[in-house]
């Protein structure tokens, strides 16, 4: 009884927040409703006994994807009002195409029937005995499908290499830390006795020397600052 009640509550909030994602005027609100939808979907997973998927949904989708969305929405200057401009004009044709697709789906579903041998052909049957679904999924991913799992990993690596190849540029004139030079440096470091309690005067902040000036280390006066170059 309680489970059924919880299901309807979560399902209602899920559908309602999904509608709000699409209709909210403020894109930030859309993303926040999306997060709410993820949470409710994960609650539904919990009710169905799939605790691993529930946790993954929260960790991956809420933790990473939704926050990324939020970043994108806030960083990019997208004029959502302009995006919605043609809505009235294109709504009828969209509705017609959607309706046709829906009818086709209905036709396919009406003709749906399992092959006689469907039960024997099942690739990943429910494991016998008391296996938690984390263990069952782990067994599938890392034992049965390890080949595809590793190949997918390679695809992600390729995507990373590709992104770097196509976008990374060596810029001239950037300053890099060269640790070996820093460590092997000697003779240019000077210890000076600074007047105690003199403080740091406003004009003693280090500034990069003017371009054509010699790069020699300069110590101003008795007010010296004790900074090392």
């Amino acid at each position: 009884m309680i489970a059924a009640l919880a299901f309807y509550v979560f399902a209602f909030i899920l559908v309602a927040s999904a509608v709000m994602v699409v209709t909210a005027r403020n894109p930030v609100h859309s993303v926040l409703f999306l997060i709410l939808a993820f949470f409710n979907a994960s609650a539904l997973f919990l009710l169905a006994g799939a605790e691993f998927l529930a946790m993954i949904l929260v960790i991956v989708y809420v933790g990473a994807v939704a926050v990324l969305f939020l970043f994108v929405v806030m960083m990019l200057d997208i004029d959502f009002a302009r995006l919605r401009e043609g809505f009235q004009r294109y709504a009828p044709i969209g509705a017609i195409i959607g309706g046709i697709l829906f009818l086709e789906l209905l036709l396919v579903l009406a003709g749906w029937r399992f092959t006689d041998m469907a039960a024997d052909l099942r690739l990943a049957p429910v494991p016998n005995g008391p296996v938690s679904n984390t263990a069952a999924l782990g067994r599938l991913l890392y034992t049965d499908y390890v080949f595809l799992f590793q190949a997918s990993g390679l695809i992600l690596l390729v995507a990373m290499i590709g992104a770097i190849v196509l976008t990374h540029r060596e810029r001239v004139g950037t300053r890099r830390q060269v640790i070996a030079d820093q460590v092997s440096r000697s003779g240019s470091v000077v210890l000076t006795q600074v007047a105690i309690g003199a403080g740091i005067s406003p004009d003693s902040i280090l500034r990069p020397p003017p371009k054509d000036a010699p790069k020699a280390v300069e110590h101003h006066d008795a007010h010296g600052h004790g900074g090392h170059h």
Partner: protein, 473 residues
């Protein structure tokens, strides 16, 4: 679990990671060393492929058989040869970065996964592992607008094709209950009724795969991508991935869907005839030789698919022989195209070849051989490739298809011969630069194969026969 069966793939993947690390860390230029290491890894994988046992591994997702061996050796050889062509070109065009051979290596790994796929999921994963590096290397010359455009076009259309393939896969899975090829073959055994959902799914799968092989009507990306991408990348596209895509089509259609041949045969007949026609007619007006090669490759895919469309053992053997010969003559032709530069600057118009017969008689001779072979003039290898598929079509009673093939070969002969005419009978003031030794080696090897194939065709035919026996029997 018999994971040692997949040793060639594992070797390629692991050496890819090692090469990546050892090329990233040093501060100096590692492009040449990277290329050589990748070619070495490809040859090592080829040795492992030859020593590979037969059987299935990874709970039936991976299969090693003579068909896979034949196709994998072709892909590895094609990839290694095109990388060899790329070294010098990239150096001169200031594209020499180690990521190029590395991405080609991962693409080749994807091809091997595809060829060995025994599961629709493995098909998809292999296809993506192949496609993703290809999108990147198409845009490798990123400061060139055409190259970037090629990469973007290929990416958008490729993503669409992947979507079609996945949709088809999901339909097949939904209606048949499995993605494993062996189990699918059971589900579609002759006694079983075929639901419309499976047929729709099958058509979508064929569409997704035909895109990768650039068969009509999924060819639209080919000319633009071939023209825009750097020439060695075009060479790579036209060689190994095409062989892998054809191999995958053959494996999927003669494996799990063998008993649905009534359903897919008509699709393939149409695709084959349309590819041959478009490949020959659209190429006539081309002035850019890379675009010409794009249409030529569309036509060649049509000829190769003819063997599969007639659905006989002889036909499938014809496909394998055709792809082997196509690969070798294509690599040779692109060796000539890669070496086309005038005063250090790459050129790619057919008219730029003018006078080649006088200035570089050796290169011109090989190019003439490749063009005659592509046109299917006896006694060169290209003639035999066509002969086997045409004979298979006639034996299976598809005389009209063979006649279209012969007709389009004649039309194709026009533009291949035009290249030869430009080389020998047109004159020029500015001769092209001489090709480098590495490129000359690839030209000579491929040219000799084309000339000498008639003397000793048995090894290739025999290997193809063995591969087909494993696939069909």
């Amino acid at each position: 679990m018999n994971w040692t069966l997949a040793l060639p793939e594992i070797l390629l993947a692991v050496s890819g990671l090692v090469i990546l690390l050892s090329c990233v860390i040093p501060k100096q230029d590692t492009a040449y060393a990277g290329s050589m290491a990748v070619i070495g890894a490809l040859l090592g994988a080829a040795v492992l492929v030859m020593m590979q046992d037969e059987g299935t591994a990874f709970s039936g997702q991976y299969i090693a058989d003579p068909f896979g061996r034949f196709m994998k050796l072709l892909c590895l050889a094609g990839a290694a040869a095109t990388l060899l062509l790329a070294i010098d070109f990239n150096e001169r065009e200031k594209l020499a970065r180690f990521e190029f051979p590395l991405l080609a290596l991962f693409a080749t790994t994807g091809m091997m996964v595809m060829i060995s796929a025994n599961d629709l999921m493995a098909v998809y994963i292999g296809l993506e592992l192949l496609s993703l590096p290809l999108y990147v290397i198409a845009a490798f010359n990123r400061d060139n607008g055409r190259s970037a455009e090629a990469g973007l076009k290929y990416f958008v259309l490729g993503a669409l094709a992947s979507g079609l393939l996945l949709y088809g896969t999901s339909l097949v899975y939904g209606f048949a209950g499995s993605t494993n090829f062996d189990k699918l073959a059971l589900a579609f055994a002759p006694g079983q009724p075929v639901s419309a959902g499976v047929v729709v799914g099958l058509v979508f799968v064929i569409a997704g795969l035909a895109f990768k092989a650039s068969a009509v009507p999924f060819h639209m990306w080919t000319p633009d991508v071939y023209e825009g991408a750097p020439t060695p990348v075009t060479a790579f596209f036209a060689a190994a991935p095409k062989v892998a895509a054809i191999a995958l089509i053959v494996r999927v259609l003669t494996g799990p869907f063998a008993d649905l041949s009534d359903q897919w045969q008509q699709v393939l007949l149409l695709v084959s005839a349309a590819s041959m026609l478009l490949g020959s007619f659209a190429a006539i007006g081309q002035r850019n030789i890379k675009r010409l090669m794009a249409y030529s490759s569309i036509g060649h895919v049509g000829y190769a698919l003819m063997g599969l469309a007639v659905d006989t053992d002889v036909g499938v053997r014809g496909v394998l022989v055709y792809m082997a010969i196509y690969l070798i003559m294509n690599v040779g032709t692109f060796a000539v195209l890669v070496s086309m530069r005038r005063q250090g600057k790459a050129v790619e118009l057919i008219d730029d070849l003018a006078g080649l017969g006088k200035t570089h008689p050796g290169t011109a001779m090989w190019m003439a051989i490749f063009m005659f072979s592509m046109a299917g003039v006896p006694p060169l290898a290209g003639f035999f490739g066509k002969l086997y598929v045409f004979l298979a079509a006639m034996q299976a009673g598809y005389l009209w298809l063979a006649l279209i093939g012969v007709g389009t070969s004649v039309i194709g002969g026009y533009y291949y011969l035009r290249v030869i005419k430009v080389m020998y009978f047109d004159s020029t003031e500015e001769p092209l630069d001489a090709p480098t030794p590495g490129v000359g080696l690839v030209m000579a090897g491929s040219g000799l194969f084309n000339v000498l194939f008639i003397l000793w065709p048995a090894p290739l035919i025999g290997a193809a026969q063995l591969a087909v026996a494993a696939l069909v029997g």
